[in-house]
């Protein structure tokens, strides 16, 4: 049985007084791709932000890497890569400078950056552009690069396919598969249902702030029931 990486029980997350997550039960295991599906505003993004420790849990319990999210956010974040809807980039800095900043914040050696940039198909010309001049797709590539930079144990991807061309979407799919095979847990929220469902080991359906149900798919049948 694979190791449990994240768990949410009866979770409620409030944005103001609004229950963005009204009832959430969620598990993620080592080395699997978990796909969060559901319409806009159903709580997928909020779950990702919860797992990254960016929003507090109002009720219920949540653990990541076996640590309580309410107590150990900083320790948990060491193992998390998060590609959020917002890019987290500094508009006035170039792509390279943004990556350098992230690398030194993560205490990684600089050479890792070059291979990353190649991998995410960001040509030299783009690397020297300030982030505000990037297209939405290029932005997405840069934030994906930052999210995987530290080889996280838990990779959270919020709409990684959005604003990418087909090549880019394929790249994201390959990326998810590769990291999952290497033992990283990938939790992805996306509107690219077909692509995501094809890769996902398990699918959670979200609606109106609740996890409606879970579907096992593909090779990892039965992974969810311990």
């Amino acid at each position: 049985m694979a190791k449990k990486v994240a768990e949410v029980r009866d979770g409620v997350v409030l944005i103001g007084r609004f229950p963005a997550i009204a009832n959430c039960n969620f598990d993620a295991y080592e080395g699997e791709v978990v796909y969060l599906s559901g319409p806009n505003g159903s709580g997928k993004t909020t779950l990702l932000r919860l797992l990254a420790g960016l929003v507090p849990l109002a009720r219920g319990t949540a653990t990541v890497f076996g640590l309580d999210l309410a107590q150990n956010r900083r320790a948990i974040r060491d193992g998390i890569g998060f590609c959020a809807h917002q890019s987290h980039l500094y508009d006035d800095l170039t792509v390279l400078e943004n990556l350098h900043f992230a690398a030194s914040a993560l205490r990684l050696p600089k050479p890792t950056i070059d291979s990353l940039l190649d991998e995410f198909a960001l040509p030299n010309r783009v690397r020297k552009l300030p982030a505000q001049k990037l297209s939405a797709g290029q932005r997405k590539r840069v934030s994906l690069a930052i999210a995987v930079m530290k080889s996280p144990h838990l990779l959270l991807l919020d709409e990684p396919h959005s604003s990418l061309d087909d090549d880019g979407k394929d790249m994201v799919d390959r990326l998810m598969r590769r990291y999952a095979e290497a033992g990283t847990t990938v939790v992805v929220a996306s509107h690219e249902t077909k692509r995501s469902a094809a890769i996902a080991d398990r699918i959670y359906r979200f609606d109106k702030g609740a996890t409606l149900g879970m579907q096992s798919s593909g090779q990892a049948e039965g992974l969810g029931d311990e």
Binding site: A52, G53, L54, R73, R74, R77, D78, I80, G81, F82, A84, Q86, S87, H88, L89, Y90, D91, D92, L93, E97, F101, A102, S104, A105, L106, R107, P130, A131, I146
Partner: protein, 221 residues
């Protein structure tokens, strides 16, 4: 902590060098205010020299508020602040880094202001050591309170108007002490034994400590 502080400070200064937002807004603002005070008070007598410490520090205070505000808006664009948290930077380091960057920007403004006062008002600077140390610690106190209150009010839409309302009363002793220290330096030719400098040092260090200790709960809360 110092590693994190350094990279945050370098990043902020680099952003400022790139965008030149403060350069293009603050320096003209500073010069315009200096010239307007010249018109308003008149250059015929010594009044301008006598009030120049007050003018200097009032302008420096407003400039510092703008610098803090800019430092915050950099982090709220693209939710960059969340990036800092996800990268796992130490909150105290983030505080120190932002503080250093704001201080560097404030010093740049203060140098221009000082030159302006000398050139436009004909002020002769005495007790240069006192003036420099007073500026250093006044800016430290001001920027500490500014960054701390800035982070506290970051979540609100009315941040731009709320920030001066919070920071200015809290830093009133800094304005008072810095102005008096400069008066002592310029008019009374005092040295670094000036009691007002002592007050600035105490204020600066106390609020630096509060910021370092409480920034974790402010940033994370």
């Amino acid at each position: 902590m110092f590693h994190d502080a350094m990279i945050v400070a370098l990043k902020d200064v680099r952003i400022e060098l790139r965008s030149k937002v403060l350069l293009n807004q603050l320096l003209p603002f500073v010069l315009v205010v200096l010239i307007l005070f010249g018109f308003a008070i008149g250059t015929a007598n010594q009044t301008l020299v006598q009030v120049s410490p007050g003018i200097f520090w009032v302008v420096a205070f407003f400039a510092a508020i703008l610098a803090v505000e800019r430092s915050l808006s950099v982090e709220s664009d693209n939710h960059a602040k969340e990036g800092l948290m996800v990268y796992g930077l130490e909150p105290a380091g983030v505080f120190l880094g932002k503080l250093i960057a704001v201080m560097v920007e404030c010093f740049a403004v203060e140098v221009v202001l000082g030159l302006g006062v000398v050139v436009l008002y004909g002020v002769k600077l005495h007790g240069v050591m006192l003036l420099i140390l007073a500026s250093l610690f006044a800016t430290l106190g001001l920027a500490s309170v500014g960054v701390l209150f800035g982070a506290l009010s970051a979540a609100t839409k009315v941040r731009e108007t709320l920030l001066p309302l919070l920071v200015l009363p809290a830093t009133a002793p800094v304005l008072l002490a810095a102005t008096k220290a400069w008066e002592d330096g310029i008019v009374n030719h005092s040295g670094i034994g000036d009691p007002w400098l002592g007050l600035l040092v105490v204020f600066g260090l106390v609020f630096l400590a509060i910021g370092l200790v409480s920034f974790e709960s402010v940033l994370e809360d």
